[in-house]
Structures are given as C-alpha cells and as structure tokens.
Symmetry: C2
Subunit: 626 residues, 2 copies
Amino acid sequence: MKLSYINNEYFQKLISIEIDPKVKNKLISDMCRINILHMICCAGSGHIGSSFSSIDLMNWVLGEINKNHENLYFFSSKGHDAPALYNSLIAYGKLDFSFLNKLRKIDGLPGHPDVNTPNIFTNTGSLGMGISKSKGIIKANRLKGIKSKVIVLTGDGELQEGQIWESLNRVSQENLNELIIIVDNNKFQSDRSVKITSDLNDLESKFKSFGIETISCNGNDVNEFSKAFETLEKSNKPGILIADTIKGFGVSFMHGDKLEEGEFYQFHSGSISQDVFDSSISELSKRISDLTEKHNLDFKIELSNYETPEISLSSNKKQSLLASYSKSIVSLAEQNEKIVALDGDLILDTGLIEFEKKFPNRFIECGIAEQDMVSQAGSFAKEGFIPIVHSFSSFLTSRPNEQIYNNSTEETKVIYSGFLSGLLPGGPGHSHQAVRDIASMSGIPNLEMIQPNSEKQVEEILKYSISSPHNIYLRFCSIPFTIPENFDELSKLERGVGNTISNGKEICMITYSPTMLSEIVNSKELLLKNNIDPKIISMPWINTFDDNWIKEELSNYHLIVVEDHYIEGGFAEKLSLAILKMGLNIKVDVIGINEIPKSGTNQEVLDHHGLSSKIISEKVIRLTKS
Amino acid sequence: MKLSYINNEYFQKLISIEIDPKVKNKLISDMCRINILHMICCAGSGHIGSSFSSIDLMNWVLGEINKNHENLYFFSSKGHDAPALYNSLIAYGKLDFSFLNKLRKIDGLPGHPDVNTPNIFTNTGSLGMGISKSKGIIKANRLKGIKSKVIVLTGDGELQEGQIWESLNRVSQENLNELIIIVDNNKFQSDRSVKITSDLNDLESKFKSFGIETISCNGNDVNEFSKAFETLEKSNKPGILIADTIKGFGVSFMHGDKLEEGEFYQFHSGSISQDVFDSSISELSKRISDLTEKHNLDFKIELSNYETPEISLSSNKKQSLLASYSKSIVSLAEQNEKIVALDGDLILDTGLIEFEKKFPNRFIECGIAEQDMVSQAGSFAKEGFIPIVHSFSSFLTSRPNEQIYNNSTEETKVIYSGFLSGLLPGGPGHSHQAVRDIASMSGIPNLEMIQPNSEKQVEEILKYSISSPHNIYLRFCSIPFTIPENFDELSKLERGVGNTISNGKEICMITYSPTMLSEIVNSKELLLKNNIDPKIISMPWINTFDDNWIKEELSNYHLIVVEDHYIEGGFAEKLSLAILKMGLNIKVDVIGINEIPKSGTNQEVLDHHGLSSKIISEKVIRLTKS
C-alpha cells in the first residue's frame, strides 16, 4: 500500500506555536487521524472508528489537562482505541515517533495497551476494568502521600460489562475526587449500534444515581468538552464526562451517525483499502490546511510517503473454520428447533449473521455482557433447549467462569463456542490471545473440550456436540490455515481418539491445534534431515482420551506435545495423568507457552514463543538427543 | 438442643380457613419463622437474618400471586435465604414436610438451592445470577409458546455484583413483561450494613434509569407490598419492587435496624444458642396467638418438640487456620508497610477484623464485587504495594478469573487468599465448595498455589508469599482439623518439596489438603491390617515441584494422589506431567472428585464422594490388588 503520514517535526512545531489551545487541539487531532490511518494500514488491522471518536478528547487530556497536574494517569479502559492513544502520546512526546510504523509488531506497539510501552499505565483490552484500576491507583497514591489525578476513558458498549457498575459503587462513598471518567459515547459497538445491541437507556441518570457528578457534552467539539472538563475539575468531586461523539469522526464517510438502524459499522476494526485511505487523507489534509489558513498560521504540512509491502489477504486453499461454522450451525438449526444461539456483540466474528437472519427468535443478543449471556444460556438449557454461547475464547472461558460452572451444577447441557482461540492471530495482544482457555474450562463436570482441525471437522464436531449428552467447549482457530495433504481422509472423528497424520519412528508429535499441526508438519522435513522421523497426530479431543488408543498409538514413543496454550493447565497435563493411570512408561515433553504472549505478526509471535516449525524442529532435535 | 416446631397440620388448616389473605400471610410468616429457626438449629447453620426479612414476601408470592398464574417461576437469586424459601414451599405443599429436619443433610435440603429439590427452578448461592436466569426462562417459554411469570428475589448486598447490572440492560428493550424483580432491601450484608460496606445510593433511580418500572414499599408489611404487587402486575411491564425490609424481622432483638453504624450483625449465618432460640420462639408464638385472638380465629397452635444431639463446637486440639492467618497477616503488616488487604464483604470469614483495626488505611473494603476488588489490587501492585485479596475460594478463583489473568499480564505480584477451599464444610453446598479452584487458577503466569496444612505453616507460607517474586494463590481450609503427630516438626517448608509424614513401602499416598491428610492418616490402620504400609506425604505446593524431590521420594512407589478437588484440572495432572517429563516410570492413581459436590454434614459428604478414611482405604486396597 502507498501510505502517507505526518512527520514528527510538524507536531513539535505546532505544539510550540502559541495559539488558542482549542485551535491547536483541532489541528493536532486531525494530524493524529492521518497518522492513525497510516499506523493501522501498516499493521494491517486496528480500530479506526473508536480511535477517531476519541482522539480529540485524548489530545485535550494529554496536551492541556496534563499541564495542571504533576501526577496525571490517563489511560483507555477499552483499549481498542490504542492507535489513537499511541498517536496522542507520540504527538506530545511521550512515546518515540519511530513507533509509528510498528503497531502490532513484536518490537513495537501491542494491539491493545501494555505496560511495557512507555507511559502506558495499565493493561487493557479486556473490557470493563478501567474504573476499578483507577480506584486502585488513587488509593495507592494516597497511601504514598502523593497527589494524583486519574482520567480514564471508557467506551459506551463497554458499559454493558458488569464490572463497570461494580466499580462505580464506592466512588462517591470514598470521595475519589482524583477521578474523572470519560465515556466515549460514540453509539456504536463491535457490530452495530449500542441502542440495538443493548440499549443503555438514560445514561446520565444512571451515573447520577451512583452519586457521581455527571456532565454530557459534544466529545468531538473542543469548545464544549474543554468547558466540561473545567467544570469537573473545579467541582473537586469524582466526575463523569459523557462525551457524545461520532464513531469514525473526522472522515465524513466513516461517520457512524449516517448508518441506518441495524446496519453494521464498517470501520470498527480491520484495515482499509488504498482508495479509502486516499480519500480519508485528502479530506483530513484539506481540513488541516483550511484551518491553518483561517487562522493565518505559518504552518504548512507536507506529507511523507511510505510504501508497505502488500499484505496478502488471499486465503487460497486455506481452511476457514468461521465460514464452515456459519453454514453448519444454520443447517443443524434447520433440523433441530431446540438450538438457540447466544451472542455477545460478536456476530461478525463468530459467524452468526446467517443464523440471525434465518432464526431471529432463536438468536439471543446479549451485548457485551458475558456473565449475563452464560446464565441466560443456563436457563435455556434447563427449559429443554440446546443453547450455544458465542464469544472470543479469551473472554468466554474466563469472564463468566463461575456462571459456566453454575450451569454445569444444574446437570443440563450447554455448548460454548469460543473463537480466536490459541496464540494466533498475534496482532491483538494478550487480552485477546486465548492461551489459558483449557485451564479455565477444566474441572467443569461433564464438559468435553474439542478443537476442530478442518472445515470438514467443524460440521462433524458441531453435529457430535449437539447430540452428545455432555457440555461442550469448542475451541476454534479464527485465522486461515493449511491442512496436511489427505487430512480429511485421515481424520475420522471418534471420541477420545487422535488421528495419525503421518507415521514415524520413536518420536511422536501430537497437538490439538490446527496452526500447531501445520507447524509440526512443516518441521518434519528438517527433522528427517536429522534422522528423526516423527509420527504426527492430530488430536481434536482436549480432555477425553480413549485408553486403547493411548496404548496402541502412543506406547513405545517419546511423546512431544505441542500446545498453543500455557503448558500449565493444558492438554499435556491431562494426557500425562491418563498415561500414568494406565501404568504406561512413556517419556513426555511439551513445547508450549510459558510466558505472556507477545503482540506481533503471526510469524513474529510464533518465533518468539518457539512455536514456529523451525524452532519446533530445533527443540525436538535437542530433546531427542538429550 | 431442645427445639420446637409447628407441625404441618397447622399450616394446612390455616391455609384452608377463609380469612383475609393479609392476616393469613402474617400468621403463616411467623409460623414459618418458628420453623426456620428449628430448621437452622437442626442443621447447625443457616442464614436467619435474610430468611426473616424475606419470608413475608415469599409467602405472598407462593400463597397469593401464585393463584393468578399457571406457570409461575419463583426463586431467590441470593439463595442464602433458602431456609425461608424451603419453609414457604413446605407451607404451601410444594415440598414435603419431612424435609424440615433435613437442612444441610445429604438426603435433605442443600444449604443453597439446587434443582434436585422439588420446585427449585435453578441453582443459586453464587450471587448475582438470578435476573439473567429469569431472562433465559422467559425467552425459552416464549419460544415454546407458553405464557410464564417469573418472580426473582435478590438481596441488596447482592446488587453490588456486576452481573446484576449486566442483566438489567435489555430487560426494558426486550419488553420482558413477565418479569418482576423483588429486592429484599434489608440494609445488611454478610458483615455489616450495606451503607458502610458499599453504599447503593439512590437505588430507585438506579433501576428507573434502566427504563424499568420501580416501586418501593415496606417489605415486611403485607398491606403495603400486596398493593405494590398489584400495581406491578397491572402495569404489564417488567417491574422492580424495592422491598424495604428489616434484617431479622419478626424477632425484636434480631432486628438489624437497631445496630449502631459499623456494628456487625450477629444473625447473618450460623446457628443460635438455646436461650436465643427460646426467646425467639416465645416472641413469635405470642404474636401468633395475639393475632388469632384479635381476629377471633378458631386456630390454636401447639408446638411440637424435638431434641437434637448437641452439636459440639469445641475444636480442642484442632487446628484453626483462620485465627493463625489473622495473627500472621497483622504481624507481617507491622513489619512491611507495603502490605494492603482487600476484602469483599467477608472480613469475619477471612480473619481481617484485627487487620482493619490496626491498619484502617491499608484495609480496602470492596463490597461483594470481586472483579472490582481484583482489578483494584492490580493497581496497588503496579504502584509498588503488596496487595492481598480475600474471599471464598469458590468465588475468588472464578468470578474475577479474567481480572486475575489481566493482573498477571502486568508482571506485578498479587497474593490471593482463598478461604472455604476444598470439599468441606459440606453444609453450604456446591456454590460454596471450592473444588475447581486449582483448575481455574491454572495457567496464570508466574503464579504459585500453596495450601497451608497447619497453623504453623500459615505463618511460614504467608511470610514466603510476601517475599516471593511470584503471584500466590493461598488455598485455605476453613474448618478445624487435626494434624498428624509431630506434624510441625516433620513439615519443613521448602519450595516444591513435600513432607514425608510417615514412611512406608510400595504405596505412597500424597495430598495437599489438610482434611484429606487427616483422612489418609486415619486410613493407615485399616491398610496395615491388609498388609499395605503406605508412605504418607503432605505436599503444600500444588503446582511447584522440585525434580530431585520427585526422583528421591516418589520413584519406586505406586503413587496414590488424594484430592478434595475435581480430578480434572487438579494436582494429579500437574504432578503427572512433572513425572513424565523426567522420564520416570511411576504408576499414578487418583482418589478425588468426579461429580458435583453434595451438601450435607462433613462426614456425609466425605462418605458420598469416597473421601472418608474408610472408603479411601478400601479404594487403596482395590487399586493395589488390581
């Protein structure tokens, strides 16, 4: 892609000019918007809509409010607007300009904020935690005898998370006057409008009922929000600023307020085309130059150019489980009217668009409220339905963890479909990388965990899940991947039994993850060169083992388990106990994750965690020679 | 204890008499109060305060509102008021009278509601799930084309749980007119007043801001609440009834509204003395007879008598970890001013009373809001403090599961102190029995799980935890237990190393749980008679193993792991992987939990799950002879 961006010198020059801070805010914010687009296009993904709705506010906080406080903590609770935050930090010299091209790169800026980046105070990206964290910061500073100011930005969709309302409860009681909460009220969440997804009703009176000072204003109009901040700062009470913003503000055709009711917003996450990039930059550049002219500023920007290697979006011959899931769930629901699907504002990412169209009554939208969703599912199950609960695995297996267990204690049956499972994609970072989902779903009575390894298996496994008496956790990989030759012929679905993909000697490599399987298969060539000829097994059953299969297929091998999951609490532990209960003597080694997942390109992340084919083969060589 | 109760015939007679239903409600409610006290005293524990505040409402719903609906679902979301619910169900013929003496017995009524009891619609006891469940019930019935009415009772302290506010969000949007939410607004929660613990501020306007019809009234005055129900039922909209009640209502000296600010409420849970029982019964009996006289009713009750075996509360020579923890945390906090303690309304059960007194600024009350508590702790850690988070293990390890993980991704250090860990006490039932805590805490990077096995170890382990660079999960047993002879001399704390309590041959029994250790030690006698002489190891380290120790102490034994935890996701899986990674050939068997824990006396529950010394020895005999 042919990109353009604004060089650092222009930001520094503009900041040094003495003009009305409001005009400065407008200029810097549009300049940031150009660099946000540049940054996201370099990365190949990122959240444009909420970065654009919030950048004006962020720049005001970091550029102006910051001047009044020695010890200001500012962070975004939703974290999805990281490209805005990064660019605002860069503009105000709090983050090195060289990071501009390094969003979602391993030596750069994580997809969601992480404390290892300068001036990032806390890890966000998992929604709803920001106000709680602010409270901790304030009280810790009080204990240290230091005066602090904490400004936390939340989304509006994010307000559907229960933790937000937990965290508001003692704010007024404890007189947390150091706190200002900004709501980026841009009216859109991941898929559609907040009003349709889960209406927040009277937001202002909600906040006021917690005894907290609340002001609403236009959050894209510096004249309005600067005054609102002034009022809140003067009040010396904890305060909430409901900033009415427009999602995608700043580029007219990205404005969310132009959509029809129920329409999907196109610029929530993901990159854009060259055309869209060019039109956006031209609109933003024009507004910047119009404004400088209007104020007679000696300030003219020349854009710098940058060409990125074209990111191939083709998934030729690659497996896409999402499409297959989408088709399968509809076809199975046609045959079984007891199937209902519950969604937590991720219909696009969990393949439910078609399902919702065909079965609007059996599609249960819950908003970003996973605990509520899971408990609702429990009741559907109790009433004789087969509820299938959808979300990203990182959230689904942990946020409603107690609710999932509670459902299981009613001895009903619920299916949990988790997407974005495993280490990849690497871009979004550790809040979205589900590498402890197996651990957190362990010890749920009567629950089977299964990971489909091909499009064909998706259908078979979903069919099995629906007819099975067990609770089921389906662990879906959300990125396209290749499968070994003849995989579909070799992989017969049989409970507790793995599929031998290629025969070998002495060493047996086994995994449940399709991306890991692909790396293992790729490692074979190098291994053969080293006289290691591993047997390779694809094992879709994560916590169910057929004893005979273990005996027949695993005995007499040195087993090497490959996991895109933390080793602790993972598959290898479960398989090990199964082996030892049979009294078998098998050496087991595990190649898996030990440290917190990095954000980066998929290859970078695989390499870093030692899970790329090359490093896997090196490890196997070491393990077998030791 | 010498107890008395009202026999079933009086309830049935009163119900059949045609009198003003309001007078009937008053009489039945006081009669239920007598039987609630009887039931709780038979059980030895149970929640009097919230049973008394809510019984009038429950009887109105089950006795009167029920008449207008063919398909009424009524349940308590908090579930702590189960003795009231059970007695109301018994009074109205929906539960057999013979259950009266069987609260918290294995063949009787669980400590918190469970669907295996007739007319219990859903499992509660874990707070905050009830409204979500109601929504699921309503929508499932709609899909079935059946008209339903759902009335759900919540606590007021319970409203601090975030899920409540998640679940309210789409109630009005979806026109869930079948729903009535009753808040038993008795102003007290587990420890102290709601106002002090975590003030709910303007509750009525909170609910109204969700677009839900809300009425407040006196919830112990049938004249008031009967009218309020009528209004809500007529409105044909989802409705909320804020029932202002008095905790302990009905027995004057139990009334919560008489307490000074900050005072602990004495009748939240637990049993009462003979004196308290007698005075209560006499006050209740007098009011019943006064009321029947006033209305000239031909209705005179004679109480039946029942004598229970005295429940021994002595814990002579028994270890009490709570007292030891209480002392240790204060003494360590005196030496280290970085220590802060966070509490989720369980100060009495987590031993923090003294800590709060000594270090009021370093004691952080969070209310019943575990997610908020854990994220606050994360910030304290990030600011250089050593936060120790307290709750029951069943809640602490699951409700804020994602928040715990998020903290760990900041590479700070937090200590999680979980109480009521393991299968015992058996009384409260599966919502409170933490038997999957090890699983849900697995895969948290850099987290060590440790279980103290004696009072002395509490101090040592807490000391270790504070100085260790790791996150720590402390798994505390909350019931008194005996330790093996010379245990304190034999148990040296060394990272990853177990303590051999008694030597043996061929068989090695190992556990991390002090109650299991005590059962194992008791099983030895029977085993010796069968020529089995097991080595016994107490292993406080749940997920940390010293390889040399494994090699030296476990090799050449048939290992039998005993767990008061689900086998899946437990200690045996972790130890098995450690063994196989070393290439050792050890046979492993596990005696642990496979099914959902039963509620009952401790001995009943141990027997049922095969974890009493007798059954353990039988299992070991079978396992070693096979």
